[in-house]
Amino acid sequence: MLEVIQDNWDLLRHGFVGTLKLTVVCGIVSLLLGTLIAACRVSPVPPLRWFGTAYVNLFRNTPLTLIFFAVALGFPKLRFNLSYFEFAVIALSTYTAAFICEAIRSGINTVPIGQAEAARSLGMSFTQSLTQIVLPQAGRAAVPPIGSLLIAMVRNSAIASAFNVTELMGTSAEMVENGYKSLWVLLWIAVGYLIITLSMSAALAALEKKLAVVR
């Protein structure tokens, strides 16, 4: 059981760093993209709203593996060549952003309509009232669901290993091939994921506490 981690320390660390990198980059990209799509969905401009709805319905309802296939195999055929890590970021962030968008939109729904009306009566534009009045309040309510989504994203990142990206789950294949018992290999990989996801949970819980307001 311990020999798995002793003999494969470098490999596990390499995979762990890979997952961590994907998590950080995809987390940032999908949060930004998700917020943008959410803004589209609630915007007063109909084509933007249609775009937001289409985006969410398309990417929320397509299996992530299929999106990975489309990106990692489709893009090179269209002569759009990036590194496979970048392909993984594109696939995973596009997918996660659809869910983030919905979490933010549900947060926006918790903000009393009077807030937006008040902002408008002060002469603020849509962008101003969204970014300065509505989103800061919506974000508070959206922290718990976004937390779940980000943790789900960490686990989803395992799919990237099928497409030339080194991450934690992918290292299991090499260790099992080298004859280590799969049960112990998977146990250590689970530990690796738990380290990442539990620290995220803790950070999010702290954030939630900090942002909490008495209503």
């Binding site: 709805t53 397509t62 195999l73 299991s172 294949a173 090499e174 080298n178 004859g179 018992k181 799969s182």
Partner: protein
Amino acid sequence: MKMRSSVAVAGIAVLALFGTACGKDGSPEAKTPAGSTGGSQGAPGAPGGAAPELPTYTPKTGVALTGSKTFDAAKSRGKLIVGAKEDQPFLGSKDPATGKVSGFDIEIAKMIAADLGFGPDKIEFKAIASTNRENALVNGDIDYYVGTYSINDKRKQQVSFAGPYYIAGQSLLVRKNETAITGKDTIKGKTVCSAKGSTPLQNLQANFPDTTTRVFDTYSLCVESLLSNQVDAVSTDDAILKGYAAKDPKSLKVVGEPFTTENYGVGLNKDDSVFRNAVSDALEAHEKNGDWKKAYDATLGLSGSAAPAIPALVRY
């Protein structure tokens, strides 16, 4: 009204995505059924005019293996359960239409079964993922495993092997018109693809630092990248590569001498030496009577590569 139009837009978009995805994945897939059925009946366009035919096996009667738990269990069950692969063309591959598996490894499994007294209709092939082979054998989920299973010391701690029945070695699969790559000394600066975690991949990464590696989950993704010029070669055991070349001999070929040695064995439960001896005997008998060679010619031989020498069995 607003609701309805947005649903329609989403629907169209989904269809569009599925359309493109299917187009990309579907085109190479379409070769599979034709290729694999062609193989079992002797593929058209096989080298040398007459299509080689698979050998037939007569099941032995009155087989008794005293003291073999595996055999007794199979006997009372009335059939053998054999672990195999179903995604390796011409080694162990499943025809999606008929559900039948075929290939060189499958033939080896049938030879053994015949000498144990089980006809081809008394074998249940079970697809076992590589990561799960040892567990399946230790738990007795399968009676034996035939599927590009390399004999090595680490694995011998958990399971035992009969064989080797084939000596494979890491080799290179390239496009038919490739001239620059002729063997392992010519892959410097090239992009070579192999499967995630595999021994050949580890070998490439450790011993060929000037070669770029690309890693996918399966060899079929590698072969697809090869056909679409994304990589210059695919590298793994020559047996696996020959299977892909046999499936598509017009566009693919195997080049160079194998540069590692992998002894393929039949995976067995560790505690059953009686069964192990019976499997070794069966292998020996069918290697001697020419079935082995016939099975090779009708499967991997369709790649255009000649049969290697039959390895000597190691009985321990």
